[in-house]
Amino acid sequence: MAGEVPNLAESKLRALVVDDNLVNQMTHHKLLDRLGIQNDVVCNGQEAVDVHCSGRNYDLILMDMEMRIMNGIQATKILREMGIESKIAGVTTRAEEEERKEFMEAGLNYFQEKPLTISKLVSILHNLDFCVQNQNHTKFF
């Protein structure tokens, strides 16, 4: 499997993991690392907003839906109101259709069910049009 995993280190993509669960934080961080994507981790929607207020920005945000203090729906709305145009992928365990709709309408670009895997993450990147050119100028996606 290792041979098939794309390495996006050259693309210098930066991602933000927003999840209040430690196991998910560790897993999503490692998944992104494996793809060569530099990433930060925050524990809830409020911290996601704060980190943007402090001036940081990201190409991709993996946003969990249910979090204490501030959930993913609220955080997504606030980030969009702030003018943040990063691609935001909602990541959550199987949600009711209405909850998904509410999350998408908050400003998501994409939605993926947890648990995340390498192939689901690659699918997120593909669907959000993250193109990478390697040294031979060949597109990965």
């Binding site: 669960n21 196991v23 365990t93 648990p115």
Partner: protein, 138 residues
Amino acid sequence: MGKFMQGYLDEQFMELEELQDDANPNFVEEVAASYFKDSARLINNIDQALRRGPLDFNRLDSYMHQFKGSSTSIGASKVKTECTMFREYCRAGNAEGCLRTFQELKKEHATLRKKLEHYFQVQASDQLCVINQLQNMC
């Protein structure tokens, strides 16, 4: 992973093993340690909440949502099944169902913990064997 773990861990655990590399050679064990630390806290919270009457089903459901989330992420399939059942009983306001399911959940959780401890011990001693063999070849 073998028959020893069959039924207790699903393909998500294998995904975690795929992520383990030279940069993080103990990644899976570290994730497992976080899971058991987190789940011990949740079990304690749920235990306490179940002793208070009348039951606060919303709070219990919220704790169990977290528990299910962690369990799903590590691939703990039997624990996850009990979490799902518990949440259904919460939604139905069925206190007896919650209590009964929680006892099962704690049993499955304890079994999983023992199995994983053994699994990591076997892995560590396998690695030691390999190192010893390589050293003997030199």
